[in-house]
Amino acid sequence: MLVYIVQRLAIIALTLLVVSFGVFVVVHSLPGNAFISQRVHGRSLQILLHEYGLDQPVMVQYWHFLTGAIHGNLGVSLYIRGEQVTPLVLRELSVSCEVGGAALIVTIGMGVTFGVLAAIRQNTWVDYLLTSIAVVGYTVPSFVIAGLGIMIFADFLGTITGGAFAYSPVWTGTYGTIGELWLPALAIGFYTSGQITRITRASMLEVIQQDYIRTARAKGLRERVVTIRHALRNALVPVISILGTTVVGILVGVLVVENIFGIPGLGKEFVESITEHDYNVTVGVFTIFALLIGLSNLAVDLIYTLVDPRIRY
């Protein structure tokens, strides 16, 4: 087991290397530079470029980056003077994690609950309704849901209650309150929970047919115990296996949603850094994302062993 974890960490490190290098090279071949907005030309531009080390060959620059990164220093922002990339990225990471975490709760909560209910009430109106919601969820883009949500909860609700219960789609401060958080989380979660609902439902339906469910009933267990302790425990196994992809989906959702609601997280930073040609930041964002995904995939695989005792690494 320990060997397995070490192997996985090695792969993560390798991935980080490849990703950061790839992005670094690509990003430094992009046209334009970060100083355009400052209207610097000619000599002054050359001085600036030299100051930031941008006039050196790409490989040398990457080497500097790498040696710095191992110590946790991801460089300096090109756009905002003096801003260190690492603390910037870490701070925004925590904001994104807040949003992402909320979205994860919505995803799993909604997804599993809907899936279970749809399965035990198969082919009734409950099933059709929940399955339809799931299908709409994973088809419709998250910004549409966000837009609809704002339309309903900010405009419509605001109009009919005279402004009393309106949802304000503007994010104040660095971290959001529950009141501000729930709609972005829902916009992301609606999309990702759709897949979870489908898989949970399909998995439950299969599990309910199994012999050990019949045994559980024959033992005289209460129906709720049978459903949760026996059926769901087993049905969750395939759900856990797609948790990795779900996390990636949530991250994509975070990216989009942050740009809609103006949330100062990594997603917004990513788009900004590209538009402003602040490439050091772009590389930093990519690296953090890759690290996050790698670790969460590892966590998912480890959780797998807890749930299904037949799996051992």
């Binding site: 792969i11 993560i12 390798l14 991935t15 980080l16 490849v18 990703v19 992005v23 690509v26 990003v27 071949s29 992009l30 046209p31 299908v135 709409v136 088809t139 419709v140 883009p141 910004f143 549409v144 837009g147 609809l148 704002i150 339309m151 900010a154 405009d155 605001g158 789609p169 990636v248 991250l251 994509v252 990216l255 989009v256 740009n259 809609i260 990513f270 788009v271 590209i274 538009t275 772009t282 990519f286 994302f289 890759a290 995904i293 790698g294 995939n297």
Partner: protein, 303 residues
């Protein structure tokens, strides 16, 4: 205990014993036709394709002409059934033209993904070994980062334009298809008729395309049908985040992005609404059709 069947026993046993044997394709098409949701989706997509073709030559108004109607006009304004946007451009015309981008991105990306994914998947599944190991490594790395981000960076690198959007999206979408085809190849190559073909002296290319590929065709087609809405969705995100086709070309994601502020400010939700509906319905249609295809050709189902 061997049981032999004689004609008399068949009669007396009552009821029918044998089911009508139908070919897989005919059976599948029959089931597909019975799936009303898939049929409705197909009809919608057909209409969409027609609208798209028509819009190449004609739209009610010039979609890029500013001030052809009062800005923020609501639907129902004479001559503009869907209203106008913040620059006074007719929304119906823009919606029609926007379908060109969506369909182009969706279909062309799917075609590229199919060619790339099938080609690479077949090769890897057949050759295995080192090639497979390299592929596994690439896959692992690609899955380590959200594909949307990579696609955006690629697009910025390539420069603006519809073709580049397609290239960027296709470059991050081919892996799933390759994985699927690889899996199919791995299992099909173990079957006896491949052994027979090899023994008969068939060349690798003939085996791959003449034998393995046709047998994997079912899942490939189904997966391709799912690539289309995924690509449209990604391109919508692109446009929404500001990386879409350059203005003034109308495209649904961009229209939605433009429509956000008037909607939030409260005075015109329709600029966002129409492209949002168009996107959602189109995506749903593709997904339902894909589901219908998958269910119809799943050999495990009997009804």
């Amino acid at each position: 205990m061997a049981i032999t069947l004689t004609p008399e026993t068949l009669e007396y046993a009552g009821g029918t014993l044998a089911r009508e044997q139908v070919g897989l394709w005919r059976d599948g098409l029959r089931r597909l036709r019975r799936n009303r949701l898939a049929l409705a989706s197909a009809v919608y997509l057909g209409l969409l394709a027609c609208t798209c073709l028509v819009s190449i030559f004609w739209t009610p108004y010039n979609p890029n002409l500013v001030n052809s109607c009062p800005t923020y006009a609501f639907p129902g304004t004479p001559g503009h059934p869907l209203g106008c946007d913040d620059l006074g451009r007719d929304l119906l015309s823009r919606l029609m033209v926007g379908s060109q981008v969506s369909l182009a991105v969706g279909l062309i990306t799917a075609a590229i993904v199919m060619v790339l994914g099938v080609g690479i998947g077949l090769l890897i599944g057949y050759l295995r070994g080192v090639v497979d190991a390299i592929f596994a490594l690439i896959i692992n790395v690609f899955y380590g980062v959200p594909p949307l981000m990579i696609a955006i960076v690629l697009y910025v690198l390539l420069g603006p334009g519809l073709i580049n959007i397609i290239i960027a999206i296709a470059a991050t979408s081919w892996m799933d298809m390759a994985r699927l085809v690889r899996g199919q190849t791995l299992s099909i190559r173990e079957r006896e008729f491949i052994e027979a073909a090899r023994a008969g002296g068939a060349r690798t290319g003939k085996i791959l395309f003449g034998h393995i590929f046709p047998n994997a065709l079912g899942p490939i087609i189904v997966q391709t049908t799912y690539v289309v809405p995924a690509a449209i969705l990604t391109s919508a995100f692109f446009s929404f985040l500001g990386f879409g086709v350059p203005a003034p070309q109308a495209d649904w994601g961009g229209m939605a992005s433009e429509g956000f502020s008037p909607m939030i400010a409260g005075f015109d939700p329709y600029i966002l609404l129409w492209p949002a509906i168009a996107l959602s319905v189109t995506l749903l249609a593709f997904n339902f059709f894909g589901d219908g295809l998958r269910d119809a050709f799943d050999p495990r189902q009997r009804r």
